[in-house]
C-alpha cells in the first residue's frame, strides 16, 4: 500500500463532503432499508418483549434463551436463510424478491427482531411494575398503560432500538447475499465498503466507513444526552 492511513481518510472525508452522488445514493439505500426494517419490527417486537416479561407460559424460558442466542447469530447465516426462502424454488420464491430491497428488509427484520425482543424483555422485566399498576388503577386502558410504561422505560427501550439499528445498519453478510449489491438499488454502506475494498478503492471505502462512524457517533450522542436529561431530572 502506497497510501498512508491518514491520506486515505483525508480522501474519504473529502469524498463525503463533496456530496459525491454515488456515495449519497448508497447512504440512502442503507437508511431506507434499515428504517423500513425497524418500522416493521419495532412495535411487534417491543410488544413481544413485554409479553415475555409479564406472562407465564410453558416454554417461555426457551423462547427467551432462543432470542438471546439469536442476537449473536452471524448475519450471513440469516442471509442464507433468507436466500433459501426467497430463491426461485424457495417457499417464498414466487414473490420474486431476491436481489431487491424487500429481500434486504426481510433479512434485517430477522436480524433486528431477536435484539429488540430480548432487550425490551430485559427493560420490562427490570422495570418498575408499580408504573403499570398506577396507570391501570387511575383508569388507563391496557393500551394506554402500556404506552405509559414505555414512556417511563424509554431510556432502556431506546438502548434496545439503537442496538437493533446498529446491528442492521452495519451488517454486510445478509445484504450482500440477498441484495446482490446492485448499484443504485441494493448497494448499501457495508456492501459498498466490501466492494470498494475488494477493488482496492480504499478512499471510497474509507469515506463510507466514516459515514458509518459519524452515524454511530450521532446515535450515541443522542442516547447519552437523553440519559443525562433523565439523570438531571432525578437529581433535580
Amino acid at each position: 500500500m502506497n497510501d498512508g492511513m491518514l491520506s486515505v481518510f483525508q480522501q474519504g472525508l473529502s469524498l463525503l463532503f463533496s456530496f459525491d452522488p454515488d456515495v449519497w445514493a448508497i447512504i440512502a439505500v442503507s437508511f431506507s432499508v434499515s428504517m423500513r426494517a425497524m418500522a416493521l419490527t419495532l412495535v411487534p417486537c417491543i410488544l413481544m418483549g413485554f409479553g415475555l416479561a409479564v406472562t407465564r407460559f410453558p416454554g417461555r424460558h426457551a423462547v427467551i434463551s432462543l432470542c438471546q442466542t439469536l442476537q449473536a447469530i452471524p448475519t450471513v447465516v440469516v442471509g442464507l436463510i433468507t436466500y433459501l426462502l426467497l430463491f426461485r424454488q424457495g417457499v417464498l420464491g414466487d414473490l420474486r424478491w431476491l436481489f431487491s430491497q424487500n429481500a434486504m428488509v426481510m433479512a434485517q427484520v430477522m436480524l433486528a427482531a431477536p435484539v429488540l425482543i430480548s432487550l425490551s424483555y430485559g427493560a420490562f422485566s427490570s422495570g418498575d411494575w408499580r408504573a403499570w399498576e398506577t396507570a391501570r388503577t387511575l383508569g388507563a386502558s391496557r393500551a394506554r398503560a402500556f404506552l405509559t410504561l414505555c414512556h417511563e422505560l424509554r431510556a432502556p427501550l431506546l438502548v434496545a432500538i439503537i442496538a437493533a439499528f446498529s446491528r442492521i445498519i452495519t451488517e454486510v453478510g445478509a445484504s450482500m447475499l440477498v441484495g446482490g449489491n446492485i448499484h443504485n438499488l441494493t448497494r448499501n454502506i457495508p456492501t459498498a465498503i466490501a466492494l470498494e475494498t475488494s477493488k482496492g478503492e480504499f478512499a471510497q471505502a474509507a469515506a463510507l466507513g466514516i459515514v458509518l462512524l459519524i452515524l454511530a457517533l450521532m446515535i450515541n450522542f443522542s442516547l447519552s444526552s437523553l440519559r443525562t436529561q433523565q439523570e438531571s431530572l432525578r437529581r433535580g
Binding site: E133, L138, S141, T148
Partner: protein, 224 residues
C-alpha cells in the same frame, strides 16, 4: 354503591394466603384493615382494586341503578373507580401537575372541570409552589400527598390505601387526613392498612383483621 367481593381466595402454589366468603365496603365508610406482615393485606387491596386476579371468586361494584351500567363501557368496571395507592407511590416522569392530571384523561370532563379539579387538588395537597416541578424531585411526604391528590381528582368510589402514613412527617399526615375526610364526606369508601393508630385511622367506622387466612370484623370492645 358498594364494593363487593364474594368467595375470593388467594393461593400461591401450595400456600393458601386467605379465603374470604364475603366482603362489603360501603361508600362513605372508612375501614381500618389490620394484620401481621405477610398476612396478605397488600394482595387483598390489589385484588379489590382489580389489579390482581384472585385464585377464585370475584369482585364487583354493586350498582343501585343497573340502567347506568352500560356493557360497552364496563368491561373493566373497577378501573378508575376503585383506586389503589402504593405504600411508596410511583410518580410518572413529568411535572407534579402532569401527574395530577394523568387519570383525568380517562374521564369525560370539560376542560374547565378538569382545570378546577387540578387547582383544588394542588391546594389540598399543599403542592402549589411545586406544581411545575418534576415529580421526581419531591420528598417522601410530598410524594405521598401527590399520589393521594392524583387519586382524589378522579372522585373514586373507593380508595384503597396501603400503609399511607409509614414514615411520614406530622404535617403530611395532617394534610392527608384532611384530604381523606373530604373524600369520605363526598361518599368515597376508604379502606386503609396501617400498623399504627394515626389521624387517618381515627375516624374509622370498622376495623378488620386479616389473620390465619381469614378476615374478621373486630367488635367494638376489641378495637385499638
Amino acid at each position: 354503591m358498594s364494593l363487593v367481593a364474594t368467595d375470593i381466595e388467594m393461593q400461591f402454589g401450595p400456600r393458601r394466603l386467605f379465603g374470604i366468603p364475603q366482603l362489603i365496603l360501603n361508600r362513605g365508610e372508612r375501614v381500618w384493615l389490620q394484620g401481621a406482615n405477610g398476612a396478605g393485606k397488600t394482595t387483598l387491596l390489589k385484588i379489590l382494586a382489580g389489579l390482581q386476579r384472585p385464585s377464585g371468586g370475584r369482585v364487583h361494584l354493586h350498582q343501585d341503578n343497573a340502567a347506568t351500567n352500560r356493557w360497552w363501557r364496563n368491561r373493566d368496571p373497577l378501573r378508575g373507580r376503585v383506586i389503589y395507592l402504593h405504600q411508596t407511590p410511583y410518580l410518572f416522569n413529568g411535572s407534579v401537575e402532569e401527574n395530577l392530571a394523568y387519570g383525568l384523561k380517562h374521564l369525560a370532563l370539560t376542560v374547565e372541570e378538569r382545570q378546577s379539579r387540578v387547582e383544588q387538588a394542588v391546594a389540598m395537597a399543599r403542592l402549589t409552589p411545586l406544581r411545575h416541578q418534576s415529580a421526581q424531585v419531591l420528598s417522601g411526604g410530598e410524594r405521598q400527598r401527590l399520589a393521594l391528590a392524583r387519586a382524589w381528582v378522579m372522585r373514586p368510589h373507593h380508595l384503597l390505601l396501603d400503609e399511607p402514613t409509614a414514615s411520614l412527617d406530622p404535617d403530611s399526615i395532617a394534610a392527608m387526613a384532611a384530604m381523606l375526610d373530604a373524600l369520605q364526606s363526598q361518599g368515597c369508601g376508604l379502606l386503609l392498612t396501617s400498623h399504627q393508630h394515626t389521624d387517618l385511622t381515627l375516624s374509622s367506622q370498622q376495623q378488620w383483621l386479616l389473620s390465619e387466612q381469614r378476615l374478621t370484623a373486630l367488635p367494638k370492645e376489641q378495637r385499638a
